[in-house]
């Protein structure tokens, strides 16, 4: 038995007809209207088909190269990401926020794999980045290239050649030598993913999905021994790469950090001399000094349906701490301190685990598959600035101004698979500083501005079937709860709509807001940084 049903969208068709009547400049007969509708629909359909298979770089670059050199695998992407600020020009703290675009990045990545033998391969990943925000808008608050050209363009070997390594594989052993990045852990966010430094130019807007391009790869030896379902991974890292935080004059440089933009530019122009506290050149660990090298080990064990792992990392703090090394009294009688920024050794001990199950008999959805992930990192000897000690030093006491504390950061994620390919994730995270006191600044892994922070992250995403799943919408909410002093440091909300123009071209719109919290708080300081972003990516 076969039946025919009417088209499912008569209302839409009526709307369409009405719109066409409005738009048409010609006399409309029914025949003409119908032809016009179909002509336009068919034109768009042709364009959609053309776009679906549009892959010029794949066809004319990648495929010919791979045909000529069969042992070579070649791939890459071009991406344009832009974020536009939604609030007008104003002064915020120490910042002159007179720019609208916080990024206009053009990124080209080329990835090459050359198979020397079935077991040996050379990998090279190159990034070319140009951020047009500094050239394409007239802003007094954006001058970061004068501090670091890397903020505008990747202009040297260190940044352009992101990865270059030789890998050798047997059934039980992986040896990877060269410049590489390591991502440990299973969670969204950085918990035991601590091996490489990170380019944090976007500060609070650095997303987990961008870690791949923001990690700072380092030269290292990476050896993994596999035994059964388990593995033991050992890293030897002679090369140290620190975090790259936003520099003065960049869009996400914290408005809390003095001095004001005008004063920084005056110093850069040589119109004024440094005054007050002075900083010596940062002392960095040396690749040539065996004692400065870093070591890490990771054990992974599979006991289905549970998998778990342990890590230990003898590392440097990725950010230097300002040690007081001297003081002087200026002409006004003020005591100024002399700081020596130095990196400090730390011990990271971490755990990761995940477990899968399914809940039965859940109302409305029946069976509900879920995954539980847990991750935690305990770090020993984390350096913290102690402002009481600094004040004591100004008063004549001899101390370094730095104290060490242990910190812990941990998270537990519950991920559910709801009908309609809808993912829902709840991930409460904890940042904690042991033996905390109010005079402490911030340190790796600890709470920000408080003894503890709790971030109950909520995330939901689903594709829309009426677009044949080409449209996906995701919402992330990150409230920042804090104690015992600040209680609430604001909330970050992120709404992302991703549309697949084809399997090669993807577009994305992102709306990010930073709401509530005090102007000294993690998110509160960025209350005027709400922004709308778009991204267009072509992979070949």
């Amino acid at each position: 038995m076969i039946q025919y049903k009417r088209g499912p969208i008569p209302a839409l068709r009526s709307l369409l007809t009405g719109l066409l009547l409005l738009a048409s400049v010609s006399p409309c007969s029914g025949y003409f209207l119908d032809k016009q509708v179909h002509s336009l629909v068919n034109s768009w359909s042709r364009f959609d088909r053309f776009l679906a298979t549009f892959d010029p770089a794949g066809r004319y670059v990648r495929q010919p190269i791979e045909r000529q050199i069969p042992a070579l695998t070649f791939k890459g992407f071009y991406r344009q990401w832009s974020d536009i600020q939604l609030s007008g020009d104003r002064r915020v703290g120490n910042r002159k926020k007179d720019f609208r675009f916080s990024q206009m990045q053009h990124q080209l990545e080329l990835e090459l794999h050359y198979q020397i033998s079935p077991n040996i391969e050379i990998t090279n990943v190159n990034n070319f980045v140009y951020d047009a925000v500094y050239n394409w808008q007239d802003s007094a608050g954006l001058y970061a290239p004068r501090v670091s050209e890397t903020t505008r363009v990747y202009h040297n070997f260190e940044r352009t050649v992101r990865e270059l390594y030789l890998s050798y594989r047997t059934h039980n052993l992986d040896v990877v030598l060269g410049k590489q990045q390591i991502a440990w852990g299973k969670m969204d966010g950085q918990y035991i993913d601590v091996i490489n430094g990170m380019d944090r130019r976007e500060s609070v807007q650095l997303e987990a999905s961008d870690y791949e391009w923001r990690r700072q790869p380092a030269w290292m030896a990476n050896v993994t021994y596999f035994f059964g379902a388990n593995s033991l991974n050992v890293l030897y890292i002679p090369n140290f790469e620190q975090d790259r935080n936003p520099v003065p004059g960049s869009p996400w440089y914290s408005p809390l950090i003095p001095p004001r933009d005008d004063d920084v530019k005056s110093l850069l122009d040589g119109r004024s001399e440094p005054s007050g506290d002075t900083f010596r050149k940062t002392q960095r660990p040396s690749a040539g000094d065996f004692g400065d090298h870093q070591y890490a080990v990771r054990l992974d064990v599979s006991m289905e349906p549970l998998t778990w792992g342990l890590i230990y990392y003898y590392a440097w703090d990725k950010n230097p701490s300002p040690f007081i090394v001297g003081s002087n009294v200026d002409a006004d009688g003020n005591t100024n301190l002399e700081f020596q920024p130095k990196f400090q050794r730390m011990h990271h001990i971490g755990i990761t685990a995940d477990y899968a199950s399914a809940l039965s008999g859940v109302p409305f959805v029946g069976e509900l598959p879920l995954v539980l992930r847990v991750e935690g990192l305990w770090t020993r000897d984390v350096p913290f600035v102690d402002f009481d000690h600094q004040q004591a030093a100004r008063d004549g006491s001899r101390n370094s101004g730095i104290v060490t504390r242990d910190t812990m950061r941990a998270a537990m994620a519950f991920e559910f698979a709801f009908p309609g390919n809808t993912t829902f994730l709840f991930q409460p995270s904890l940042l904690y500083t042991f033996d905390w006191r109010e005079s402490l600044g911030s340190g790796f892994g600890g709470a920000v501005g408080d003894e503890w922070n709790v971030l109950p992250v909520l995330y939901a995403e689903r594709p829309f079937r009426f677009t044949r799943d080409r449209l996906r919408v995701g919402l992330t909410l990150i409230p920042w709860i804090s104690g015992p002093i600040r209680e609430w440091q604001g909330i970050k909300s992120r709404l992302v709509a991703t549309y697949r123009f084809s399997q090669f071209i993807t577009g994305r719109m992102t709306y990010t807001t930073y709401s509530s919290g005090d102007r000294r708080d993690v998110y509160g300081q960025y209350n005027h940084w709400d922004n709308l972003g778009w991204e267009l990516s072509y992979e070949f």
Partner: protein, 457 residues
């Protein structure tokens, strides 16, 4: 066009886009579909079967049960004729989308929307069947909750998915042990192996017709089985006239061309084709048992099972209103002769969602039956292996469709067959697209004006 009207015009363009991409155009129908495949009556209800045909069938619905596992028939697998419908269902379990033996293959897949938006991919699949025995008997040797099959998939196309990997560990289920899959994904952009919740068994994958159960198969004990009759199929997967040949691959990397019209439903070596090239089938209904599958999206399935090996050449899925929603058709061939009739594996499979007018396909190219070495077993099928990004056996394939115009034809609807059991509702627009396809011999993506349509019922 005046400036004043320009915003309206933009709005109109947007609406056109919305209509063409996101929904089915509501064009009044001009003609009914030709959907009988041009054959004379090939199907018989039970009442129409001859005595000789009836002798091969056990019509009982209530048969003795296995003493240890009450949901299994008492008769030992693989059963002896005459077969009950339930036994046919158990035999058809031998043939899920991914073959039930250890093997490697290049799995080419894709989907196309009604207006021709094509999405394709390639994954190299490595399957390790854990029990000592292949097939259904092997699955039944493991206890509920225990793993019986490990599948690793390494994506090589399109570029956005290159180096993406999946590991599926299938578990035998029963009413207490309901977890069917441990699922791990390696994402190259995250550089992490992540355990994922198992996909909902009845939910279609994004931009695809296939559900998880369509790929890993359904367990016969979760359904009530009933024989509807017999039929002779002459076509399952249909190639368009724009794709006269198909390039297939051997596991050793050699390619060969096959004329599309030479690809038979069960391969060249199948000995039971009818004189006119058809395959005689049992047609059985599998109705979802609510005590096993509560909230399952599918109300019933109808299988066309080859009468000799019980290979499902056509599977129809119906919703709870008994309305046909999805058709799956397959071409297969004898890949694993050691298993005789149980050694058939799918070559091309096409899935069709009638409501969405969405099709997806899968081609299992370069099928390589193999016993994995101890080292491979220990390493390749573990989650941790994925972060090594080591495609150890890089099988080649050129079986992609590449262009929308060369995509498979929609499966035949056969509206005249078993009309009391099969309720088929097709929108006018889809019916017209089917008409246009049948007339052209390939998919037609562009709609015609209702006033200029010429086809009549």
């Amino acid at each position: 066009m005046s400036i004043r009207l320009f915003p309206s015009f933009l709005l109109t363009l947007f609406a056109f886009y919305f209509v063409s991409v996101f929904s089915v155009p509501a064009v009044p129908i001009a003609g009914a579909a030709e959907q009988n495949g041009g054959q004379q009556k090939t199907w018989k209800t039970i009442d129409e079967l001859s005595e000789a045909e009836k002798a091969t069938i056990d019509f009982r619905l209530d048969t003795p049960r296995d003493t240890a596992i009450p949901y299994l028939p008492a008769e030992p697998y693989p059963f002896e004729p005459p077969y009950t419908a339930e036994e046919m269902g158990y035999r058809s379990m031998e043939f899920p989308h991914v073959s039930r033996w250890s093997h490697a293959m290049a799995d080419v897949f894709g989907a196309i929307t009604s207006n021709g938006y094509l999405d394709e991919g390639i994954t190299i699949g490595f399957s390790h069947y854990l029990p000592d025995q292949d097939g259904v008997p092997g699955q039944l040797t493991v206890a509920p909750g225990e793993a019986y099959f490990r599948m690793a998939f390494y994506y090589t196309y399109p570029p956005e998915n290159q180096d993406l990997q999946d590991l599926w560990i299938l578990r035998r289920t029963d009413q207490q042990e309901t977890t069917k899959l441990d699922n791990f994904i390696y994402s190259p952009t995250l550089r992490r192996v992540r355990r994922q919740p198992q996909p909902r068994r009845d939910a279609q994958f994004p931009n695809s017709v296939q559900s998880f159960d369509d790929i890993v198969g359904r367990d016969a004990w979760e359904f009530s089985w009933r024989l509807l009759g017999t039929d002779v199929l002459h076509e399952t997967v249909r190639f368009p006239n724009t794709r006269p040949t198909v390039t297939l691959a051997q596991p050793d990397g050699n390619f060969y061309e096959v004329p599309a019209d030479h690809i038979k439903m069960l391969g060249d070596t199948y000995p039971h084709y009818t004189d006119d090239g058809g395959v005689a089938c049992y047609v059985v209904e599998a109705r979802t048992r609510k005590d096993w599958l509560p909230n399952y999206r599918i109300g019933k399935l109808i299988y066309w099972l080859d009468r000799h090996s019980f290979y499902p050449l056509r599977i129809e899925q119906y919703d709870h209103d008994n309305q046909l929603v999805i058709i799956e058709v397959r071409n297969a061939y004898l890949v694993n002769p050691a298993l005789e009739g149980r050694g058939y594996a799918g070559l091309f499979t096409v899935y069709y969602d009638i409501g969405l007018d969405l099709m997806s396909y899968s081609a299992h190219d370069a099928h390589w039956v193999r016993e994995w070495s101890k080292e491979d077993q220990r390493t390749m099928f573990e989650p941790d292996f994925m972060r090594r990004r080591w495609l150890k056996y890089p099988l080649k394939t050129q079986a992609l469709v590449y262009t929308p115009e060369k995509f498979f034809l929609r499966p035949l609807l056969y509206p005249e067959k078993f009309p009391d059991e099969r309720k088929i509702v097709v929108s006018e627009v889809v019916a017209r697209r089917i008409d246009a396809q049948e007339e052209a011999g390939h998919l037609v993506f562009e709609t015609t004006s209702q006033l200029s349509a010429t086809k009549t019922p």
